[in-house]
Amino acid sequence: MANENPWPNEGNTGHIWDEDIRELDYPPPLWWMLAFYAGFVMIVFYALYYPTIPTPTGNTKGLAGWTQMKEYHEDFETLNKWRAEKFAAQEQALTEKSVEEILADKNLVDYAVATSKALFGDYCAACHGAGGAGNVNYPILADDDWLWGGDVNTIYQSLVSGRVGNMPAYGAMLSSEQIGQVTDFVIAMSEGKADSEAFAAGREVYNSIGCAGCHMPDGSGMAALGAARLNDKVWRFSGERAEVMKTIAKGVNAIGEKETRHAVMPAFAERLGDKEVKRLSIYVHSLGGGK
């Protein structure tokens, strides 16, 4: 093959494949070779500077003394120091005072609200919506309708320990006709027509199976049990007839009922710490419906 090189003068290596593929004998460009060697030099310096080489007992520490945990703590310290310089008094007040005391101090309330935006947005808004506007099947926080109570202390308790809704499933106890009747009565209640004789059958069921025990005879609800108020236009789940029937038939967190509605507010005391929970309580209270 070597003596059949049809391109004897172009400086190829003399190897020819597939009729015309050949390689020239040029050296790599000088700048490329220099940069290639510089790469090795860089590796040496980098390995001296940062923890890079494993040893039998761990690894080399590097001249910079850098570790990722050290970097993290230093960044965090910088931020904390900056916060402490400007807002030490407010932060201390949030730590020491009760939520009621904080609520009495207008400047402190303003401060808590101003520092809650990302906290609420990242931990609460996924369920309760941006600005507490609510979501399908999750309560609105920006109105004055409260399941468990809207005074600041109760809000604080809801955040500290969480809440678990509870309503029995009536699907096995009632006929579907009865469920339909009590559903119509409950919807009438929300529309202010509960007294109409048209809903007498439903009222009868409502009073006889124990609905009134938690939701009260007039549908005004009971905050101590987290029982929803029924005589207003705000629905804990949905006001659609089929959805109300589902709530009554399947209950809320009803044990043994697979299709029951789930209504759980997680506890945040351990997750965020007491100071942040207080901050959020003030923020939620300020959303419009705090009592």
Binding site: L24, G39, A118, D122
Partner: protein, 474 residues
């Protein structure tokens, strides 16, 4: 000179792999564009589990990497190994077995992934029965390729051409890393758990993951570059020595890089440092390949004006050089702290995947189509049209992801006057919307280009077949 008898090549199976590759290019980029559109307009998943983003994204990555990329690699490897060794395949039958087994595996992959069966390892999602099947196909591929070289006429072809080295590297490294990362304990036919746990599992996963990029999506495609650039440009490779140096530095370098996917995690500091510094040192070896390809064109740059196929090949080298610079920069810890978990990573992957891998493959496939079916293309202007759709689509995509990724990273770390986070996570998501739309448009352009290519190829093959029939009747 003696009369040279042209060797008979087994081109039937190469044709089959080539067509399969382009069909999957259209499908894979379509899946990707649809998944991207779901991020911009979430209603598009129609509350159907099989096409939610979480599943469709995995179907997209598997289709483009393994179905398109795999078929391209198999087509070009068998095309090149025959021609550069002057002999047919070691076994044409085994090649056909490989073809059908591979396509069947890909079909099952799409179905099982849509059903949500996944090992949850990125770029290695297939559950264990399919995992083993893919490994067997790959071993078959390696065997047939290697034997074709081993049994060449060593008098006529004393030296192994550089393109084959890169395919060798690909075949060997992918085999052992795929198998290592696949080690798991099956608990049922379609459920298994990784043999490794915790940070070791993450490290093994990214040892594989980065080499899916380094060997599957780079080494093999450099092999493609080394054959098709000199062929299409009709110029000799610029430097043999450069090819030797950058080949071995890629082979030794790439396996160190996986750790840079795990900066600022439970991974020990020193492992991350090694991953970062070797990544930075890989810029120059990577550029070696791009440089050798581009310098091959010196003296023939004017051909870019008229040769649209060469345009694809050279544009791919430009994107290769750019993304092999960008990647190491992102591996450095201080940049990684900003870029990691953001869309910047997605943009980087696509500048490599669309700009480099897809474009070099497209150039090679156009070249092969004309040779395999012994014809001109049905339409050269459609190739030019495809070139602009692909290039503009890629640029749209990566620019959108640069902006959105850097913006995301900055929003996540921004503090307000009180020293608390300035933005909620949801606000950063909402801010991404225009860039997700722009990315989807980039995807639509790129997919449209792929569809144009498939049309052009089908018309070319019909034209060639019609001519054959005419000749037979004459």
């Amino acid at each position: 000179m003696d009369t040279v008898v042209k060797p008979q090549y087994n081109d039937g199976v190469v044709k089959a792999f080539t067509l399969a590759a382009i069909v999957f290019l259209v499908l894979g980029t379509f899946f990707g564009t649809y998944a991207a559109s779901e991020l911009a307009w979430p209603f598009l998943n129609f509350d159907t589990a099989e096409i939610t983003f979480g599943r469709l994204r995995v179907i997209h990555t598997n289709t483009v990497i393994y179905a398109f990329g795999g078929n391209v690699l198999m087509a070009t490897a068998f095309y090149i190994v025959q021609r550069t060794n002057g002999r047919p395949l070691y076994s044409n039958k085994l090649a056909w077995v490989q073809f059908f087994a591979f396509q069947a595996g890909l079909l099952l992959a799409v179905i099982t992934l849509a059903l949500g069966m996944s090992q949850a390892k990125e770029y290695h999602e297939l559950e264990w029965p399919l995992d083993i099947a893919v490994a067997l196909v790959w071993v078959l591929f390696t065997f047939n390729f290697t034997m074709t070289i081993a049994e060449r006429d060593k008098q006529k072809v004393p030296h192994i051409y550089v393109a084959n080295w890169f395919f060798f590297g690909l075949l060997i490294m992918v085999t052992y890393l795929w198998v290592l990362n696949a080690l798991s304990v099956p608990v049922s036919l379609f459920r298994s758990y990784s043999l490794f746990s915790g940070v070791q599992d993450a490290m093994i996963q990214w040892w594989w993951g980065h080499n899916a990029v380094g060997f599957f999506l780079t080494a093999g495609f450099l092999g493609i570059m080394y054959y098709f650039v000199p062929k299409q440009a009709q110029r000799p490779i610029y430097s043999y020595r450069l090819s030797v140096i950058h080949f071995w530095s890629l082979m030794f370098g790439y396996v160190w890089l996986g750790a840079h996917h795990l900066q600022y995690t439970a991974l020990p500091d020193w492992v991350g440092s090694l991953g970062a510094v070797i990544s930075l040192a890989m810029i120059i070896p990577s550029w070696g390949g791009a440089l050798n390809g581009m310098l091959t064109l010196s003296g023939a740059w004017d051909r870019l004006r008229t040769d649209y196929i060469l345009r694809f090949l050279i544009m791919s080298l430009a994107f290769y050089a750019m993304s092999t610079f960008e990647g190491p920069v992102m591996a450095a810890k201080s940049v990684n702290a900003l870029s990691h978990y953001t869309d910047w990573t997605i943009g980087h992957v696509h500048s490599g995947a669309l700009g480099w891998v897809a474009m070099v493959s497209i150039g090679a496939v156009y070249h092969m189509t004309m040779k395999l079916w012994k014809t001109e293309m049905y339409s050269m202007s459609l190739i030019n049209f495809h070139f602009w759709l692909a290039t503009i689509g890629t640029v749209f995509y990566i620019v959108a992801m640069w902006v959105s990724g850097i913006m995301q990273g900055l929003m996540w770390r921004a503090y307000d006057d009180y020293g608390t986070l300035a933005y909620t996570f949801a606000e950063s998501v909402a801010a991404m919307h225009p860039y997700y739309v722009m990315r989807a448009i980039g995807g639509i352009l790129f997919t449209a280009g792929a569809a144009v290519m498939l049309y052009n190829m089908i018309m070319t093959i019909r034209m060639a077949n019609a001519r054959q029939t005419q000749l037979a009747h004459a």
